[in-house]
Each structure stands twice: as structure tokens, then as C-alpha cells.
Amino acid sequence: MTTNTIDNQTYIEGIKNGDAAVIRSIYENYHQAIIHLVEKNKGNSEDARDVFQEGLMLLFQKVQDPKFNLTSSFLTYFYAVCRNIWSNKLRKKSKSEVTITDQMTLILGEEDLPGIEQNEQYVLYRKKFLQLGEDCQKVLDFFLQKISMKEIMEKMGFGSIAYAKKRKFQCKEQLVKMIKQDPVFVELMY
């Protein structure tokens, strides 16, 4: 196996298994490239961070497919993913076609990456969910697992089913509000 293949395999397995050391290594090795890509094309460091994270989340979904096979270097592929993500964001901001300025040879067209929009949405929803208080996360998680309100009441130590329902509503209302207040959400509506 070539060094390139070993590195690719390590990255892919690390993403699949949520290996913190591998994720850190990806950040270490590639964050400058993505910051450069974004800042040279009308973005800033915060945008670069969002693009990097969405890129990793999109890759996370892709590597779950047993048929996924990385034929280029990890950097080339990951860069292409991030490039498409940023291009999509810029297009939505300007509401017209954009041209990214960079030195990389494109290996992926947008048709190779369906799900960029959905990924952007889902990353936003999860980001806001993780910002909720611990109790709210628990209540909403129990509800999504279709646990009965009576059991939620007991697990959370609430006084009544009505209160459990109220807390669930309040937590969800707070989550929805946080999502809708995010500039990314406004963009998604167009």
C-alpha cells in the first residue's frame, strides 16, 4: 500500500468511527487550505469554519456507504467538497452564479455531491440542538425516541404529564427560535 492509500484509509476509518485524533489531524493538516479558499473568495474565518465542519459532516454521511471509494488524495477530495459547499453558499448570498478563484483542479462537479443543501440544514439544526440546556436535549431526545410522556415525566422527575408536555413544547420552541434566528436559516428559505 502507498503512503497515500494508508493516509486515506486512516482518514476514512477515523471519520466513520468518530476518532478524535483523526479529526484533529484533519483540522491540523487542512484548515489552512480551506481558510485560504474561503478568504480568497469573499469569506472570513467564521465562514471557513462552517465550511470545514459541513465538509466533514458531508463526508461522514458519504463514508457510511459501503460502496464509497476514495480514488484521489484525501486533501483533493475534501477540498473539492468544501469548495462546492462554499460555492453553494456564495451563490445563495448573491442569488446568481459565482466563480471560485483558486489553483486547484476540480475533481468533483456539483452533480457529484447531492445533499449539500440538506447537509447545511441538518448541521444547523444539530448545532442549535447542542446549544440547548441538558434537560431540554434529554426531553426532546426522549420524545423523538417515542417514549411516552408519562415515562418522560418519570425519567425527568417532572410533577405531571401536563408539565412534561409543557417542557417539551418550551424546549422545542426555544430550538425553533434559535434556528430561525440564525442567518444560515434565512438563507435556506430562498
Binding site: G18, H31, Q53, Y125, R126, G157
Partner: protein
């Protein structure tokens, strides 16, 4: 329909819990109401995103690991790099001084409690009290009182306050009214904690209505929001001992405050 009922209707739709007739009505409503359709779309996708546990855990990791590598903006950093050592050291010293002064002011204002977590604790435990049209008091003019309650249910809190305050001019010592008014002040955006506190204190001091324990609960939450934790704890203990249906909530909250 209250916001909670609206949310629950959407959830019932998404969970396939509506019967044939309800489903048809709801789908017709969605066709006519873009905002409702958008909300349904949002709820559906939110649920899908959050219920994917492995993706959620991975995202948590990705967010955490980003911190050392991405700063707020590169432009200000470049300016700082160009400062001389002396200027930079003064800038750093001034920043530290500002932080110390801010921390001291916050500590003095809020005691040993973290003001952010007090407000979060309030938000986590606060629930909108369901004033309903069965609420009655023999002393209050019923039609006007019901009108105020309807305004409250529609979240027209300013209108509800006008109505309740008008009624209070003729019945200043009615505790059902005081309790309703306290809740209305609390639900305003932003909450009027001072006026809400006054109404709940009235109810508690009169001690002759069925709303005393509930008033103690809400007053305790106001105290928590304002960082007056010991006062809150005393009230919560009383709610626990009262056996009111809020006593479990009070017990739970007291544990959080320990």
C-alpha cells in the same frame, strides 16, 4: 389554538396520529397556509437531523476539535501582530484589567451565582400558566375577566394587562385577579419581573386563595432569574411541603440549586 397546541398538531401529523378526517383537514390547511407548511417541513427535518445519534455525536466532536484552528477573523490579528511589544503589552494589560473589573461588577451584582446560569435556570423551568375560561372569582365582573383571559390565551399580553388592571381598580384585593395579572406580566416580552413579583407577593401575603403555592413557584423563579437564590430556595421548600402539583417540580429545582 395556542402555540403548544399548534406544535402538538404538527407532531401528531408527522407521527401519523391524525385520523382520516383530521388528516384531510390538516393537509388542506397546509395547502392554503405557506407558514404552516414551512413549519411542518422544518419540524420534519429537525427531527431527522437530531434523531441521527451517530451524526449528532460526530458533529459534537467536529465542533469541539475546531476551536484551536479557527479564530474569529484574521484581519484584527494582523493589526495586533504589527503593534510594538510595548504597545501590545499595554493592550493585553488593559484587556485583563477590563476583564477583572467586569468580573467584579458581575460578582457584586449577582453574588456567587453565575448570572447566565440563573437566567438559563429560569428559562428551563418557566412554563406559561394556562389561564383558562373556567377561572372565576365571585367578586370580579365575569365577562370582562373572561375577555382578559382570552387575550392572555392569544398572547395579547398588553391587552390582557389593560383589562385586568381596569378590573383591579374596582377589586384591588381579589387574589385570582392578582394571580392572573402576575402571570400576564411574566409572559410579556420582555418579562416585567418587578410588576409580576408584586402581584405574586400579594397572593402569598393574603394567603387565602388556592393559588398561593403556584404564586410561590413563580415568585421563586423570578428570584432565581434575579440571582436571589436563598429567597427562591425558601419558597421552593414551601411549595414542596404544600403537596401542590408543582411540588415535584420544586423538589427537582431545589436539587439543581444545591
Amino acid at each position: 389554538m395556542t402555540p403548544q397546541q399548534s406544535f402538538e398538531k404538527i407532531e401528531a401529523y408527522l407521527n401519523g396520529e391524525l385520523d382520516e378526517v383530521q388528516l384531510k383537514i390538516f393537509e388542506e390547511q397546509m395547502k392554503k397556509d405557506d407558514a404552516l407548511a414551512a413549519q411542518v417541513h422544518l419540524f420534519k427535518n429537525m427531527d431527522l437531523a437530531i434523531s441521527d445519534k451517530s451524526a449528532l455525536q460526530f458533529q459534537k466532536l467536529v465542533q469541539k476539535e475546531a476551536n484551536p484552528f479557527f479564530q474569529k477573523s484574521s484581519a484584527p490579528e494582523a493589526k495586533i501582530r504589527k503593534l510594538s511589544w510595548t504597545s501590545r503589552s499595554w493592550t493585553i494589560a488593559a484587556s485583563i484589567l477590563v476583564l477583572i473589573i467586569s468580573a467584579t461588577l458581575l460578582f457584586q451584582k449577582f453574588g456567587s451565582s453565575d448570572p447566565v446560569s440563573n437566567q438559563e435556570l429560569f428559562a428551563q423551568n418557566f412554563m406559561v400558566y394556562d389561564l383558562d375560561e373556567n377561572l372565576r372569582s365571585s367578586a370580579i365582573e365575569p365577562d370582562l375577566f373572561q375577555a382578559g383571559i382570552r387575550e392572555y390565551q392569544k398572547e395579547n399580553y398588553s391587552a390582557a394587562i389593560d383589562t385586568f388592571q381596569n378590573l383591579q381598580k374596582s377589586t384591588p384585593n381579589d387574589m385570582v385577579l392578582a394571580f392572573a395579572l402576575g402571570n400576564t406580566f411574566l409572559n410579556q416580552n420582555p418579562s416585567n419581573f418587578r410588576l409580576a413579583q408584586a402581584e405574586f407577593q400579594k397572593v402569598i401575603e393574603e394567603d387565602n386563595s388556592i393559588y398561593v403555592s403556584k404564586a410561590k413557584w413563580y415568585l421563586a423563579l423570578i428570584y432565581i432569574n434575579n440571582g436571589r437564590i436563598n429567597l427562591a430556595k425558601n419558597l421552593l421548600q414551601e411549595v414542596v411541603e404544600s403537596g401542590d402539583n408543582l411540588s415535584k417540580n420544586a423538589e427537582h429545582l431545589l436539587k439543581d440549586l444545591q
